[in-house]
Amino acid sequence: MRLLPFCFSLLITILLIFVLNRPIGTKVPMPLGSFLSPQTGFWQNAEDTAFNYSLDILQADLKGNAKVYFDERLVPHVFAENDEDLYFIQGYLHAKFRLFQMDLQTKAAEGRASEIAGPVAINYDKEQRRLGMKFAAENTLHVVEQDAPTLARYSSYTKGVNAYINSLAEGTLPLEYKILNFKPEQWTNLRTMLLLKMMAKMLSSGTEHDLENTSLRAILTSEQFNLLYPQVPDSLHPIVPKGTTFPKPMHDYQLPENVDSAYFLNQRAVAARSQYPEDKDNGSNNWVVAGSKTASGVPILCNDPHLELSLPSIWYEMQLTTPESNVYGATLPGSPFVIIGFNDSIAWGVTNSQRDVKDYYIIKFKDNTKQEYWFNNAWKPAQQRIEEIRVKGQASVFDTVAYTIFGPVIYDGAYADTVTHQEALAVQWMAHHTGDDGGAFYKLNRAGNYNDYVSAIKDFECPGQNFVFASKSGDIAIWQQGKFPDRWQGQGQYIMPGQDSSYLWQGYIPQSENPHALNPERGFLESANQRPADGTYPYFIPGTYITPRANAIEHFLSNMSSISIQNMMELQNNNYNILASQMLPIFLSNTNEAALTPEARTYLNTIKRWDFDAGPNAVGQTIYQFWLDSLQRNIWSDELVKAATKVPVPEEQRLMELLKIDSTALGFVDNKNTPQVETLRDQVTASLNGAAAMLAQTEKEGKLEWALFKQPAIYHLLKNNLPSFARTNLSVGGAGSVINAIKKAMVQVGE
């Protein structure tokens, strides 16, 4: 009787195929059979190390002849006869090398991460949708579609991406699709706009502190607030050199009648906040030196965008050439054009402006249906978008987002959980309504001189950028370009009343009055996310400015001459901690050595010999960091803990400035929880003792050297889900306030 063994064997075969043909839980998200098969699975992605990346684009897709040459670093050099072919090939190449990245980033931007990642991403998706990311992308696409040549460029790019997607078979799918078990989706012009909005979010959403400031004002007087979080830092070296004169502004705004009672004097703690804040140190450096300061006599331009380092990188290097244009530089997969680079005549670079272009308004709904809200003495209907969030492995989740005259309601009773007793908050964000910001790069790619550069960037709106410029003919320049509201003093610093039109943005700063400089006497210009101008700039321009890196760049550039390219490359990686060089003397003169523990004394002797170089082997930098952290806790936490929610402590830079002029730091140095009054000397000494105990532990773990302590790492886009794809324990120096801004690795959270 062979029936039984037959059935048994058949059952095992079918069961094996069944189990191997589907994911096994979240740990094994891929069907193992196809994943392991050397003919369809991951082995197919293991390219020959000598692989020849020649291109196979169907001639039928192109109008003319085109050539792509990959150099020894695999940088593609594209030569096409016209723009359509050029951007078609750019799209094709982006997809060929970065399809998963483009797909993931735009799906995340749109609030569709749950389709890939499952239920863990639902709140992330809600926040994207409530911020109005897709709404913003649609608005920009609408503008793009009004202009045929503009639309044609984006459409060529889209066709190129799709030509690659359509060429894929199961075995040739990028690796990540096999791991996560999904298929790429067709590219659209909307997805390019979403990618650009993702950049806008990274760079101009989170540069506002309205929610935190509102909470801070509940525990601080306005005088304290303005001194701890000043608009113009004492030690600022602005982008536009000091002494620049600005034209008298033609403000045409009116202060709301009830501004004191309803706004300035009416702030209370707010629990709502982003659950997925952008890294506030998403900054960059750029600078340009004139021929008068260089060995060759021609300008040198440098740019180091410090966006998160990832595998693959956010950037993709290319050369794009047609008979009319020839440009080389960093491109952004998901978008056509070169974003940072040079052509035959000019070079340009960008850093983030850090300007606040996002405000919150309290909305009073008539009832829980969110269909009507109180505005200008009447109930006004809100538009509603029903958002369906599709979730991998379970049923869709629905969320209703109400759109007001200000913008979408981002926080209300339905999101986030932290909102308990607050009214709904609507968000107004510059990125919601912009023109074709990508067009600025199209024109820059073809600019031949200063005037071309100015006219290329003048319509760029959001995220505001510091466009640094140099031309072969010897001009150097910088413009902080963006569309910025012309705010009355204090407007948008806190959450604003949203029951009438008086708190709306009433106008914009004229583009020609954006801070800019051309060919300054001193022979260089730089930006590193600092405030663009000093206090004489006649507009109220809040933001999340970063002061120390720019100070370090100024410090070095102003002392350099006969500069070579090698000098500039070294400066890009410079590890001098200028802020520590200003802070440590204050620490040392306020240390009571007699009250130090033996181990604290050892660390004190070590740091006294430190040369402020935050290199990978620096022990002084590690000691400084522990000492500083400990002191900041001792100074601020007793007061700031009174805020009902988490609030940002004043910047390290601000602490240094304050201690220079007032050793009590407005009385904050004293610990309010003890009966006696602590002096700065008490606190600095106690902080070193506290830090020393932790340092001893760190030393025992063998991590006293800076790079061993901060453990710099570059993760795959899927972060902790793919730790074996990360490069960890990199031996590099630098810190957030150092020109080489590689800081301590943050705990990576899988998306």
């Binding site: 369809t40 991951f42 791991i179």
Partner: protein, 115 residues
């Protein structure tokens, strides 16, 4: 002799069909070959198992050698088996071999039954 013919047929046909069909086509190939070539259940299983085991092992090792182990090391890390491309190739081959082996075994029982 039948065993080797069967083994070779399964390996070669699995490769060719695998160029166009999903991964589980190895089961179909092993099943059909085993149905056509009469063997004891034991040798049927072994010819199916060994045919695809060797095919997948050789393919994986070839790919891995050209790739210098770059990807297999990372996938090994991801799957929790450590940085051993050879072990990963072996596991790959065993998985393919088992599917083909049982498919071939099933066919040999079926063949006996039809007789």
């Amino acid at each position: 002799m039948k065993f080797f013919i069967s083994l070779l047929a399964i390996a070669i046909l699995s490769f060719i069909v695998g160029l166009y069909a999903p991964w589980w086509s190895i089961a179909l190939v092993a099943f059909i070959i085993s149905l056509c070539i009469s063997q004891t259940p034991g040798s049927s299983f072994l010819s199916g198992f060994t045919g695809v085991f060797l095919l997948w092992l050789i393919l994986a090792l070839f790919i891995n050698a050209a790739n210098g182990g770059i990807l297999a090391n990372r996938i090994g890390g991801m799957l929790g088996i450590g940085q051993s491309p050879v072990l990963l190739a072996f596991i790959t081959a065993v998985v393919g071999g088992l599917v083909a082996g049982f498919a071939a075994l099933t066919a040999s029982y079926l063949r006996k039954k039809i007789k």
